[in-house]
Structures are given as C-alpha cells and as structure tokens.
C-alpha cells in the first residue's frame, strides 16, 4: 500500500450519516439553549456565553462517549457495525464541537478583559493540590482537547497508510486518555460549581457504561484469543460444510493472529483476519460477488488469492488448506500476501 493522498471518498451512505449527525448536533445544541434560556433567561452577554459553553461542552462529552461506545458495541453485536463504518466523521465532529466549547471560554475571558488570568490559572501549581474544588480543571479540558486534536489531525487514510495500521491504532488509543481527562474536567469543574443532580448522574452513567462495554468486549475477545493447539503446523477448522455459505469460521493458533476460513459455494479459502486497511476483522464479513468484504469499511479481497480487485492494490496473507478424513485443516504459517491458495471441495 502506498501513502498517496486521496480526498475523502464520499458516497451516499457517508453523506446520509453526516447529515443525520449534523442534524442531531444542531437539534441538541439548539434545544439545550432554547430550553435553558426559557427556564432562566441569561441576564447579559456573559450569561449567553455561559449557556453556549454548557451546550457545546455537554454535547462534546455525549459525542465522545458515543464514539468510544461504538467499537465495543460492534464487537459485541454486529448490528452496530453500520455505526462503525463512518465513526471517523463522528470523531472529527466531536473535536470541532469541543473546540467551539473551549473557544467560548476564551471569548468569556476576553469579554471580562481577564485573558492574562487564564494562563495564570493554568500555571498556579499550588492549586493542583487543591482537590477537588480548587483544582485547575481547565487543564484537564485542554489535555482532552489536545488528544482529540491529534486524533482528528491524523484521521485521514493518508496517515493510516503512512503510519501503518498497527501504529495508527496505537496512537488512536490515546483517545481513552482524553476521555478520562474530559470526565475529570467535568467532575472538578461543573460538578463542583453547579449542584444540579443531573451532572453527576449523567457523568457516572456515561463513563461507567463506556468502561463496562470495553471490559465486556475485551473479555469476549480474550476467550477467542486463547487459540487452539496446532499439530505439525496444521490447525483443525472443522467440517467444511459447517461453514455457512459466504461466511467464515475464525480460528487462531495458540499465541498467533487469527485466521479466517471462508466458504464460497464449493470453494474454501483461508486469509489473515486482519484487514489491510485498519486491521478490521475480515472474518466477520461475508463474500459478496466472489470478494471477501470487511465489515468495518467494506474493503474487498478476492476469495481465491486475497488480492483487492483492480484498481485497488491491498492484499491479505493467505494460508494453505487441506482435507484430512473429511476435516478441513489450515496451515498456521502464512503465505506471502496475495498468494493463490483456495481449495476446491470434492
């Protein structure tokens, strides 16, 4: 794969996803401001800025919680896969909403002619011991925003190809740190100065749900990762007829990466379970028109050799298969990506 730049490839599904996203964000922020202003109308300009700060800040935290819940939800239940398809746009939109939130705070300081104090607040080191009510919670917001900036700036496929999927994924795990910082930003800021019970209730519920989903998804993956013992370099897959047509059975040698064994009619083929795009689980996808289709972003690979159909150039490592006494077995050493290795069933 080369790291050439291509503009975002829009299609109908992405445009629909983004339109719904934009509509929901506008609805939430507009609704928040309208309801809050109706309940207690802001007295002055500063009051309006405060209202916008709250609307955009809470929207950003809700969106960040959603971004982080999609991954484990899709791993626990494939019904959530369509949300994963365009998750990066949701991530970038979250960063922009959080940036606007931070911008309103700067606007407030400019209005109060107090901008010099902002830097002073962040660097009054003694206050960092002043837990919880005096802690400079804005620093935690800044950490969260910087984490989101790195993710948003490297979100394009150019960076994915340039950094390689494993490194890109590792960097993008930095968003978990950002989420923790954002949660503490709210606990030490808004939750201290505002007694509304909804603040701790929503904060604990959202953070708790996201953490629980990640732990449950990781537990499910751990069971699958235990793997099976190979004999003389061959691993048993099972009866070929037991693999549903157009689907795969995923197997893993003990301590090794997963292998996806697909059946397309009377052809079986084994490929690496790691999609060349983002290391998505190709084995959870299906065969469409003779091509294995990754469930994450729809990348396609021919069943017979693991090569993406032209003009695309991605390739998956393939594995040798054999039938022994009616049982399908896969060799655990991968062949070079794109090597034809499918097997015709008798």
């Amino acid at each position: 794969m080369s790291a050439g730049f291509q503009a975002v490839q829009w299609n109908a599904a992405k445009i629909r996803y983004d339109a719904i996203l934009l509509g929901l964000v506008a609805l939430y922020i507009g609704g928040f401001i309208a309801v809050a202003a109706a309940l207690s109308p802001p007295a002055d300009v500063a009051g309006w800025i405060d209202l916008r700060l709250k609307a955009f800040g809470s929207c950003a935290f809700l969106m960040l919680s959603a971004v982080l819940a999609i991954g484990p939800l899709a791993r626990l239940n494939p019904r959530f896969l369509p949300l994963l398809y365009n998750r990066r746009h949701l991530g970038v939109a979250t960063f922009l909403v959080a940036l606007a939130h931070a911008g309103f705070m700067v606007e407030w300081y400019i209005l109060e002619s107090d901008i010099a104090n902002l830097a002073g607040e962040l660097t009054s080191w003694a206050d960092y011991l002043n837990f919880p009510a005096g802690f400079p919670f804005k620093t935690l917001g800044l950490i969260a925003l910087l984490c989101m900036l790195v993710m948003a700036a490297t979100s394009h496929d150019y960076w994915l190809a340039f950094l390689t999927p494993p490194l890109w994924k590792a960097i993008h795990m930095g968003i978990y740190l950002g989420y923790g910082a954002a949660a503490l930003h709210i606990a030490l800021g808004a939750m201290q100065s505002n007694r509304h019970p909804l603040i701790p209730i929503l904060l604990f519920a959202l953070f708790g749900a996201v953490t629980l989903l990640h732990i449950l998804a990781a537990r499910k993956a751990a069971a699958q990762d235990a793997g099976d013992a190979a004999q003389d370099g061959w691993l048993q897959v099972g009866a070929a007829g037991d693999i549903p047509d157009g689907r795969a059975r995923i197997v893993a040698p003990a301590g090794g990466e997963r292998i996806a064994v697909f059946r397309d009619g009377n052809i079986v083929a084994a490929v690496s379970n790691l999609c060349a795009h983002q290391n998505g689980p190709v084995g959870e996808g299906r065969v469409v028109d003779g091509c294995i289709t990754c469930p994450w972003h729809g990348y396609e690979y021919r069943v017979e050799d693991g090569c993406a159909p032209p003009p695309f150039t991605e390739k998956l490592a393939t594995y040798r298969l054999r039938l022994r006494d009616g049982w399908l077995e896969v060799q655990t050493t991968p062949l070079p990506p794109g090597t034809p290795a499918s097997l015709m069933l008798p």
Partner: protein, 51 residues
Amino acid sequence: MKRAHRAAHRKLWPLLGLVVGAGLLLALILRPPPEGAAATDGGFTVLETLR
C-alpha cells in the same frame, strides 16, 4: 485488531476505569457544601433572617 492491541485493551480499560472512577467518586464525596448552606435554616439564609 492485532492480538497485541487486544491485550493492551484488556489491561488498559480496567485500569482507566479504576483510576478515573476513583477520581470521579472522590470529587463527588469531597465536594464542598453549596455556598450559604451552612448558614441556611429552613430555606432562609442567616442574612435574610437578620434583615
């Protein structure tokens, strides 16, 4: 995701949940009482009753 990523996830989330969860809980428990609460009696602040 590669095996190594899944292993990192498995260690990271319980740790993050514990550290941040403890921070959130402490921030809630140690939160100072709302302003004027100490001087409040039956909904009236001391200042109001003096007036």
